[in-house]
């Protein structure tokens, strides 16, 4: 299967971008061009230049933008992965049991999912942050909650579509336990849609986290996050556009990477309908 992924150009480009960012995270643990927290007000708002060493310029406190971008990568990635994993796990758990059990369980679980679904994810996240407090790690919970209904829906749908398959019925008939059937027959079939959804959720998580940081609810300054870099640049961005442009660009490229990867995966997943019968 890995080989199939490599054949799809879109997935490959996405994967390269993701790997690039992961590389930056690793590198940034050991080395950064400048200290992301070091303020040198003399140097403030310098445009990007190779000569000065500040490849992407400095912000209003004289901090090197490139270093801050690199520093922020780790946190954003961490939040995105954790939120997706958390929301995905809870949502999948709910969805699988909901689809499997059917009946009243199904209805009630999906009703909860629907209520969550009816809130705009950003609003929900803001709300949760307000309840929990403005700490970095609460962002994970805030975003994860919004993902529950998506994953629940997808996993439920996948379960429903194979629940009534012949081979599952045969398993039941030969007396296998419910949990056995679940793990051995049903789960492998839902892997693919879940992986695709996870990839897309990762991309949205980055966007949500940066939006929350932008609004002051996520990563708190002076710790660098792409979102709060943009927010603090608002006062000076007309004079010094690079303070706004590059952090945002970092977001766009990573999100695009996840999107490309997920889209490429979706390509592989769908049966190829191009052949004629």
């Amino acid at each position: 299967m890995f080989a199939r992924i490599l054949k799809n150009p879109i997935a490959v480009i996405g994967l390269c971008i993701i790997v690039l960012y992961m590389g930056i995270i690793i590198v940034s643990q050991f080395w950064l061009p400048f200290d992301p927290l070091e303020m040198e007000t003399i140097n403030m708002l310098q445009p990007p230049s190779v000569k000065s060493g500040h490849l992407l310029g400095t912000d209003e406190f004289g901090r090197d933008i490139l270093s801050r971008i690199m520093g922020g990568t780790g946190i954003s990635f961490l939040i995105a992965v954790a939120a997706t994993a958390l929301g995905g796990a809870i949502g999948t758990f709910m969805g699988v049991w909901s689809g499997f059990l059917g009946g009243a369980w199904d209805r009630w679980i999906m009703r909860i999912a629907d209520v969550l679904f009816s809130f705009p994810s950003l609003l929900l996240a803001i709300f949760v942050m307000a309840v929990l407090g403005e700490h970095t790690y609460n962002v994970i919970i805030a975003i994860a909650i919004g993902y529950i209904p998506q994953f629940a829906r997808i996993s439920r749908g996948a379960i429903l579509s194979i629940k009534n398959n012949e081979f599952v019925r045969a398993s039941f008939a030969s007396g296998a336990r419910k949990s056995y059937i679940l793990t051995h027959h049903l789960l492998p079939n839902i892997m693919m849609p879940l992986i695709v959804q996870s990839s897309l959720s990762l991309s949205v998580a980055i966007l949500l986290e940066s939006a929350l940081s932008f609004l002051g609810l996520g990563v708190q300054p002076p710790n660098p996050s792409w979102g709060n870099m943009l927010s603090s640049s608002r006062k000076v961005m007309i004079l010094a556009p690079w303070t706004a442009f590059y952090p945002g660009l970092a977001i766009v490229i990573l999100v695009l990477g996840f999107n490309l990867f997920g889209d490429g995966l979706r390509d592989i997943m769908d049966p190829r309908l191009r052949n004629i019968q």
């Binding site: 705009p120 979102g227 007309i238 706004a244 977001i251 490309l260 309908l273």
Partner: protein, 320 residues
């Protein structure tokens, strides 16, 4: 058709009830007493004043009682008083509502106007390079953070008169053209993400529909290509797109919050943000309830539109 509408309207009531309960109780979860925040700015109060304040802030009664009171007041059109400003909540919200609604509607229109034609184009032209370009553009549109886009717009267009509404917003009723001019960029910033989604759905939907048998029948009748595409393919293909667009209005509202912040627009999104910062419970409740109602209405409209196009939904009887 009329029966369908009435049925849908009736089903709204329990939903709204449920939402109001959730909103009310969840809001109470926000830590930090509003009373404390209020007092924080004042000098100490006397015991009688405290008692009075506690009554006003509702801290002397259990929550369910407060809820019933709130609903009672709601039915009389009274949403309570803001804990911050002391003014009535409902009029304040209503004053800012039109802007947010306008922003959302414009964003939706932009998304449709950009997304649908591009999606159709992507489906009928069989050029693989165009295909790839459209696909990547679509994914790119999904990847743009709205606040970044908005910031770039501010940077790029702050020189041009009237295009950036920062600080000098003119309501629609006052000067329609000026208003539209300044709302153009903000709504574009919000709508681009949705435009990308719509474009992708439209394209996929068209591709699927074009494979269907009745398209072959239409061609076999000798109809012109345009008629086949518009009357037969498009009409069928647009149905899932309508559903998706309706679904994503929530996304637009979320975007409105951020965009209103960037462009300093006095809309509801910004209001709810500050209300949350300040723990202004009545205000938060009021806004969230109204947002929920808007959702429900949008949902209803989407369903109605769908039923208007698809006769299989609205016609109950099937004659043999």
């Amino acid at each position: 058709m009329a029966r369908y509408i009435i049925r849908r309207l009736l089903s709204l009531i329990p939903v709204l009830l449920g939402v109001s309960i959730i909103v009310f109780f969840l809001v109470r979860l926000i830590p930090g007493s509003a009373l404390q925040m209020y007092l924080g700015t004042q000098v100490e109060a006397t015991p009688e004043q405290m008692e009075e304040l506690r009554r006003i802030f509702g801290e002397d009664r259990p929550i369910p009682v407060l809820y019933v009171e709130w609903v009672g007041n709601l039915l009389r059109g009274d949403m309570g008083y803001s804990l911050r400003t002391g003014r009535q909540v409902l009029p304040d919200i209503l004053q800012r509502l039109p802007l947010s609604i306008e922003l959302t509607i414009l964003a939706l229109l932009m998304a449709l106007i950009i997304g649908i034609p591009l999606g159709i184009l992507g489906a009928i032209k069989k050029n693989p390079i165009l295909d790839l370009t459209i696909r990547i553009t679509g994914l790119l549109g999904l990847s743009l953070p709205q606040f970044w886009l908005a910031s770039l717009m501010v940077i790029a267009f702050s020189g041009i008169q009237g295009l950036i509404p920062m600080g000098n917003y003119i309501p629609f009723t006052q000067a329609p053209l000026a208003n539209l001019k300044m709302m153009l960029l903000p709504s574009l910033a919000i709508g681009i993400g949705l435009a990308a989604v719509i474009m992708r759905y439209m394209r996929n939907s068209m591709l699927e529909v074009m494979q269907q048998d009745f398209i072959r029948t239409a061609e076999a009748k000798g109809l012109k290509k345009n008629i086949v595409i518009v009357r037969h393919a498009l009409k069928n293909a647009i149905l899932p797109v309508i559903t998706v667009a309706g679904f994503n209005v929530g996304y637009l509202l979320g975007g409105a919050i951020v965009i209103e912040e960037v462009f300093a627009l006095p809309g509801m999104g910004r209001l709810v943000l500050y209300a949350i910062y300040q723990r202004d419970y009545p205000l938060i409740q009021g806004i969230v309830l109204i947002i929920a109602m808007m959702f429900v209405v949008v949902n209803l409209l989407t369903d109605l539109l769908y039923a208007a196009i698809d006769p299989r939904i609205r016609l109950d009887q099937k004659e043999a």
